[in-house]
Symmetry: C2
Subunit: 515 residues, 2 copies
């Protein structure tokens, strides 16, 4: 094949490859999350990555233009299939399909890949992992309270300390009530409601004045672009914001200040709500937090925040968001709060799409790579706890078949080394490339090996083998050139010869040095 | 919505849901495999589930009929994407794209879902998991020998004992040489070669006479269906089969007999091969097994079997297959060998599709659900080692908000219980449904709970709580009715009352009884 006709090796846009460090860290994080979910009685579930498109609540895509947002394709029966875009819709399908066999309420957890057919961007992937926990068949606020405590326990278990996170609670019904109170109830006002909620959601970027503009006539940003507002009058804006404003304005305060303001925020809410739906939602949220508090999860960990807006259209009651409150540096070098890593809410309508009875449900979802980034930011002990076992590279100095067999024997012997607890002590590799000695040492360096084993024909003839301590070897360079004695002493330690049948002891000596 | 307009909840054809038992077992099996791969210096890698279709070596599907075998769809750039059908093609893409940064040789492992757009059938899924290990950039037979030893170690690590498996080695070059020797070399004979290899692969079903018929004119099976043969003459058939026949016929023998025949099989091979390519492949296989033997992996674990045919078109040298030799009962109630659980081979051309230099590579793949089935068949200690923690259900006898808060407090307290090693001792759930006492007890049974906690308003008034040992309770039924004293004694043990603040001690007592 000519050079030009070669295929180009390209990772698809919006997808990622991952190496050993991230994978090991993710593995440990997932195990810790799983352990926490299980303590609460949640049970593992796995559904396939593919569902019938209609089960995902999407309409059939037309042939030429797959449905916005999801990757879709047809199977041999001409039925439309889609890659799932979250883990909630597949759970609803699973529960509906297996309803009679499941315990009710049914607590389940699932970790898995989800896909979005969207324009990728920085930190915006088309394949990413979520880790969900859901309780299906429990309509009471006790189930929501449990989910909030589970969120708190999970964050602490993976290494986010108390004080570095808060689980914020709001209610879709509270916001609906507030919207109804200013005349934005009813199906015909759905678009306007969306404009209001989006404005609220943009508070961190726009500030309170910006939100007010977007609730009113509209807002022109610094670039001159104009965003049309919801067209509310001054009175409606004030009424809508009255129970929310204090909470919005507390966001930028320190955690201590937020906490000392908390009961005032609740007071303001109670006094300014004048709509039944919102009032009932408020009572429900109070009940939720009181249950949490009875179980030891006070407002320093779980608290009401009427300004939280969560986007998913299927929420029907309480919504929750786990926000990390510590500061990191953003791309522009500015300190910003880390922000949301998990969220969820009550979705009483989703299973009911398949069944003739209503099936209440509540749950939440962790963004796995986002949480991993957070653990790196706080230097979680979970990430640093385990290191890979030390690596020994057996070099291949000679290439005759019987010599290669010798090296294979050595490497198998080293690989079989076990500690007193029966656990392996090291990883061992034979050099498998074509390179000569220099290339083999470079390989050992690149692999971050602790030591190398060398047996050329000379050593073989004498029944010997050399053990080279690469860590000590690296320190040789730093010894002052004039201290010849120290240099030679260290050199002798760093590379020494042992009888063939004492190879294991030689390697143990190096392991002991660096353990 | 009317009954008929409800969506039907359907798992897509050829896909599977999985519950806690299988997931926990798979998790432990994957961890054991990972540990083994790492001892050999293999490093974790993860690539996305989606690749550009051309990178998978498939041609662009036409719009109406996605490419045979793979699920394909277009992204917003109109580029064709496909769900990967194995882990080897994505590895080749990854290595080619990141060639300069990788250590060479590069050992990697990856576990992940692969997809086949094929008619599903019993045990034939459209989404399944593979666990691969590959060495890229090593052309020597030492790399192949290492893969074979890794296969053996992996099987033993997950609980398949020596004697219950064999890693069989053949070579694509050996079969090619044998085909060439009977005039089936060259591009124009590709179809005929395929007919021959398929006939060989069908030996277990057809026996030696059936294979001979399929190599010759053809074969009519019991149903009367005729399969056209390769059209070889008697002389060609004998020549082709001469080094293979003895190996085929040994298959049905006991492991001991197979082993005692092994060197005779090698002798027959050496004496009957009269083609250079096949002879060279034979020498290579001998070298491979001698390296394994030097490292302690003799023919009882790893041996040459010239009758092994592995389908994938990209193999270029040695191929390997791990076969489990113990017997299980098939769907027709007949004893059959468990058969293949893993396989692989050398594929020197796959990375080269992307690059201007050849990049040799070798590796193998485990069928994860197939291996899990094998571990169940041998009752591997890996599956029985860990049981879920005992479960305590806190019943909800009263529904006033402050009583629910009481139950939440109890369940949080139980969940916080830790052993001396700091590990959790139990899982704890509050009953979250609407059911009365009977329904709650049924729920606890269904969840296989060890004990239930009960606090009605009576107990609450006296500051007490009841602990009900459900395991002991189940035994009550088996006590003879006339032994009233024994019954009452057991009943008192099975359900007892403790002061509220001694709830934890009460539960500990039940745990200790059954640990």
């Amino acid at each position: 094949m000519s050079k030009d006709s070669k295929l180009k090796a390209r990772l698809p846009r919006g997808f990622a490859d991952r190496g050993p460090g991230d994978l090991a860290a993710t593995e440990r994080m997932l195990a810790a999350i799983r352990e926490t979910y299980e303590l609460y009685g949640f049970e593992a579930l796995e559904t396939p990555l593919v569902e019938y498109t209609d089960a995902l609540g999407k309409f059939l895509p037309d042939q030429d233009r797959p449905n916005e947002g999801v990757f879709s394709f047809q199977d041999d029966d001409e039925q439309w299939l889609s890659l799932r875009y979250d883990l909630t819709a597949p759970l609803a399908r699973y529960v509906a399909e297996n309803f009679d066999q499941l315990p009710k309420p049914y607590r389940s957890y699932k970790a898995g890949w989800v896909f979005r057919n969207e324009k990728p961007g920085p930190g915006r992937f088309r394949q990413f992992m979520q880790f969900d926990a859901d309780t299906v068949g429990a309509g009471s606020v006790a189930a929501d309270a449990e989910i909030c405590m589970l969120m708190a326990d999970t964050l602490e278990r993976v290494g986010i300390p108390q004080g570095d996170y808060v689980v914020k609670i709001n209610s879709r019904k509270f916001l609906d009530g507030q919207l109804e109170a200013i005349g934005l109830g009813g199906d015909d006002k759905a678009t306007k409601r969306l404009v209001v909620l989006r404005a609220l959601d943009a508070f961190d970027r726009l500030g309170i004045d910006g939100v007010r503009e977007r609730l009113g006539a509209g807002r022109r940003d610094v670039s001159g672009d104009f965003t049309k507002g919801a067209g509310l009058g001054e009175r409606e804006i004030n009424k809508f914001l009255s129970p929310i404003r204090f909470s919005l304005e507390s966001r930028s305060l320190s955690l201590e200040m937020q906490l000392s303001n908390y009961y005032s925020i609740l007071n303001v809410m109670r006094n300014t709500i004048d709509n039944d739906v919102a009032a009932q939602a408020y009572t429900e949220m109070i009940e939720l937090t009181e249950q949490c508090e009875a179980a030891g999860y006070g407002p320093e960990r779980i608290r009401i925040d009427p300004s939280v807006v969560r986007g998913l259209e299927y929420y029907t009651g309480p919504v929750y968001e786990a926000e990390l409150t510590f500061t990191v540096t953003n791309e522009d070098g500015q300190p910003v709060r880390f922000g949301s890593v998990a969220g969820g809410g009550r979705y009483d309508g989703l299973v009911g799409r398949f069944r003739n009875e209503p099936v209440p449900a509540t749950g939440f979802s962790i963004g796995v790579s986002r949480l991993l980034a957070a653990l790196k930011a706080v230097n979680s002990p979970l990430l640093t706890a385990e290191k890979p076992l030390p690596l020994v590279v057996v070099t291949a100095m000679d290439r005759e078949p019987e010599r290669i067999a010798d090296y294979q024997r050595m490497v198998a012997q080293l690989r079989g080394l076990r500690g007193e607890d029966g656990r392996p002590l090291l990883r061992a590799e034979m050099y498998l490339g074509e390179g000569r000695f220099g290339a083999q040492m470079k390989y050992a360096d690149k692999r971050d090996a602790l030591c190398a084993i060398i047996q050329g024909s000379d050593e073989k003839g004498k029944g010997l083998v050399q053990v080279k301590d690469l860590k000590l070897g690296a320190e040789l360079a730093s010894i002052a050139k004039d201290d010849r004695e120290a240099y030679l002493r260290k050199q002798a330690e760093a590379q020494f010869t042992v009888p063939e049948d004492e190879l294991v002891e030689g390697v143990r000596k190096v392991l002991a040095r660096h353990s």
